[in-house]
Amino acid sequence: MTFDNVAAIDGLTIVNWSPGDPLPNPVTSIPRISVDYDADTDDWITEFRALLKLPEVEQVPGLSIGLWGQPYDTTSAPVIQAVAAAAPLLPNLRALVLGDMSYEDCEVSWIHNSDATALFRAYPTLTHAVLRGGNGLRIDGLQHAGLRSLSVQTGGMDERILHDVLQATLPKLEVLELYLGTDEYGCNIEPADLEPLLSGRVLPSLTHLGLMDYYRADELAPLVANAAILSRLSVLDLSLGTMSDAGGQALLDSPAIARLSRLNLAHHFFSDDMMNKLRALGPEVDVSDQQEAEEYNGEVIRFVAIGE
C-alpha cells in the first residue's frame, strides 16, 4: 500500500544528492535529485545544472529524478526537457528513474507526469528505465535500440500507456514491468487488452514479464496461464495485486507456468492451502505477504498493494 524510493537500478544504488555533495561513486551508484517540499521545478533544474557542473559528471552512469516540486500541482514536463537537453554531457548514462518519490512525498496517483519519450530519444545508451506516476504519463512513439529493462509504476494505468508500450519498438527489451493498478485510480485496462503482449507477437527479446498490482488479477490469471509468451519467459511477476485462490488454481493447472524459473506472487489473497500448492509447483515461487480480504457492508474487498 505504500512505496519507497527506488533503491537501486541495474545494480547501481541510488543515493540522495544535493548541490555541495560530491558525485556518488560512478562505479556503484547514481544520484537522486529531489527538491524540498516547498520548492518547484525551477529549483529542481537549478540543482540538476549544479550536478552537470561537477568535474567527471560525464562518468555518471545514471540519474534518478525525484521530487520535482509540488508533483500534484506541476508536471514533469520542464524537468524531462532539461534532462533530455543535457544528454551531450552524460554520454555514459544507462539508467534512468523518472518520478522517484516515496509515499512520504506524494500519492503515486497524484503525481502529475507527462510524456517521457524525449528521455529515450535523447539517451541512446539507456538500458534500464523506471517510470513512476501514471497520471499524464505517455511514451508515445517509443523506439529504443538498446533498452533492456522498463518498469512503469502506476496506481491505475490508463490504456494509452499500454498502447504506447505495445506499439513501441524495443528489440532488446528483456524485462517489462507494468503496475496496472486499480480502476479507482484510473486503470481502464481489461485483461483482454493484454492479449497482444501475452501472444508473444511484440517484444521479441522479453524473458521477464510483470503484470503487477492489478485489481483484476484473478481474471488475468487464466489468460496468462495459457499465453504463448510463456514459452520464452523465465520470470513471471503477478505480485502486488488481488489474486486469490481462483487465480491461483489457473496457475496450478498450467504446465507452462510450472516450467518457469521464477514466479512472483507476493501480496496475494491465497488460502494457506493454495500457498502450499503453489510453493510446490516447481519454479522458485514467492508467496510472501499474504493479505486478508476486508468486509465492508457485506461485500468482500481485496485491495492492490499500490493504489492511490
Partner: protein, 380 residues
C-alpha cells in the same frame, strides 16, 4: 566478594566503594526485567521497584530514606495502569482496544508525578524531575518550549482555542489549508505517540487519511493495521478524534535512509547523544510496534555525511530544555534538505534492547554517567 547478580551491595571493580542502590518507580513488565538484568550485568545491587500505585499512596517515602538513585519508568509497563491513570484523571476507562481518553490519562499522570515529586524533591540522586516528565507528555508545551529555545521543530498548531474548546474535523482541515500546507500529521496533544495518529493529505477536493485508528459505532479503536479513509470518511475520522485536544504538525517528507522512510531515535544521557537507532517504515509512521524495522545507523550516517552531527546536536539541544532530567529518547526527523527537526521528546524512550554505547546499554549508561557526574557521592 559478592559476584555480579548476587543480592546485597555489589562492588564495582577497582573502586573499593559499593555501587549505589537504585529505586525504580515502575515494574510489572518487560522494562522492569530489562532494567534488573542491566544492573546485574554491571554487578550493581538488585533494584527495588515501587509501583506507580504505591508511589501515589506515599509508598516512596520509606524507600528513598537512604538516598538511593531514583529512576522513574513508564507506567505502561504494567498494562493495568493505563485505566487507573484515566480514572485518577477523572475519565472513564474505555473498553479493551479502544483509544484512551488521553487528556484524562495525562491528568492522572500529572497527579501521580506530583506525589512522586513531593516524596523525592529533597534527593540529589533522582535521575528525573517529575514535573519535566509531565511536560514531555504535553506535546503542545514541548513544541513551544523547544521552539523558544531555538530547537528546530515542525510547524504546528493546536486545535484547542483560547477557551479550551476543540474544533471539529472540517475546521481542522480548513486551518491546515489556510496555513498553506498540503499534508499534516494529526496527533493527540497528550500522551505518547503510540496511538491516535493520522497521516493526512489533501489536494483540491481529495482528502486521504491513514491511521491505525478504526472508527466504529462504539467509538475509536486501535487497529494493528493502517486504515485508509477518503474524503468524507476522512473528515468523520477527524471529527471522532477531535473530542480530544489535537495537534497538527506539518508533515515534512523524510529523507530516505537505508532504503526506506526513516527517522532517528536518539537517546540523550547526561547531555550527550549516546545510543542511536534508525527506524525505517513502509508508510507514514515509524513507530516500531507498527511494523517498522530497525535500520542500519552506519549506512544512514554515511548517507548523511555532515548532517549526522546535526541530528545528534539537535537531540541534545532538545533534552537540554529539560535541565533537571538526566535522559530522554528523542525522535529526530531529517528532511531532504535543511536542519534536522525534533518530532518528540520521550520521557521513557530508553527501552531499547541490543543497542550499546561503549559497551553499555541505555540503562547502564544512565546509571554510570549519573554517578560519575556526581563524583560518586550522594548526600540525601
Amino acid at each position: 566478594m559478592p559476584g555480579p547478580g548476587q543480592s546485597g551491595k555489589g562492588r564495582r571493580p577497582g573502586s573499593g566503594r559499593p555501587a549505589p542502590e537504585t529505586v525504580v518507580v515502575g515494574g510489572g513488565g518487560e522494562r522492569a526485567a530489562a532494567f534488573a538484568a542491566s544492573c546485574a550485568e554491571l554487578g550493581w545491587p538488585v533494584p527495588t521497584f515501587c509501583s506507580w500505585r504505591d508511589a501515589f499512596d506515599a509508598g516512596l517515602h520509606a524507600r528513598v530514606a537512604d538516598g538511593p538513585l531514583l529512576r522513574i519508568d513508564s507506567p505502561s509497563d504494567d498494562p493495568a495502569n493505563d485505566a487507573w491513570l484515566v480514572e485518577l484523571g477523572g475519565g472513564s476507562p474505555p473498553p479493551t482496544g479502544a483509544l484512551l481518553p488521553f487528556d484524562a490519562w495525562y491528568a492522572g499522570l500529572a497527579r501521580v508525578l506530583t506525589r512522586i515529586d513531593e516524596q523525592s524533591r529533597h534527593l540529589r540522586s533522582r535521575l528525573q524531575n517529575p514535573s519535566e516528565l509531565r511536560m514531555m507528555f504535553d506535546k503542545e508545551f514541548t513544541a513551544q518550549t523547544l521552539h523558544n529555545a531555538g530547537v528546530p521543530v515542525p510547524e504546528s498548531f493546536s486545535t484547542t482555542d483560547a477557551a479550551g474548546d476543540t474544533v471539529d474535523g472540517t475546521e481542522l482541515l480548513a486551518r491546515a489549508r489556510a496555513a498553506g500546507w498540503s499534508q499534516a500529521i494529526v496527533k493527540p496533544r497528550y500522551g505518547s505517540s503510540a496511538s491516535g495518529l493520522v497521516a493526512l493529505r489533501w489536494h483540491g477536493d481529495r482528502i486521504i487519511a491513514r491511521s491505525t485508528v478504526e472508527v466504529t459505532d462504539a467509538g475509536c479503536y486501535n487497529s494493528r493495521r493502517l486504515q485508509t479513509y477518503r474524503d468524507g470518511r476522512a473528515i468523520r475520522l477527524l471529527d471522532a478524534l477531535s473530542r480530544q485536544p489535537l495537534r497538527l504538525e506539518r508533515w515534512i517528507p523524510k529523507m530516505s535512509l537505508d532504503g526506506a522512510t526513516a527517522d532517528f531515535r536518539v537517546v540523550v544521557i547526561g547531555g550527550r547523544a549516546r545510543h542511536v537507532l534508525l527506524r525505517c517504515a513502509h508508510g507514514p509512521f515509524t513507530n516500531l510496534h507498527l511494523g517498522a524495522r530497525r535500520g542500519n545507523v552506519a549506512t544512514a550516517r554515511a548517507e548523511l555525511g555532515g548532517r549526522y552531527v546535526d541530528v545528534l546536536g539537535t537531540a541534545e539541544d532538545a533534552v537540554a530544555c529539560f535541565p533537571d532530567t538526566w535522559y530522554a529518547g528523542v525522535d529526530v526527523l531529517v528532511p531532504r534538505q535543511g536542519r534536522a527537526r525534533v518530532v518528540e521528546v520521550n520521557a521513557f524512550g530508553d527501552f531499547h534492547t541490543g543497542v550499546r554505547w561503549r559497551g553499555l546499554d541505555t540503562y547502564q549508561c544512565e546509571l554510570r554517567t549519573f554517578v560519575a557526574a556526581r563524583g560518586n557521592r550522594f548526600d540525601a
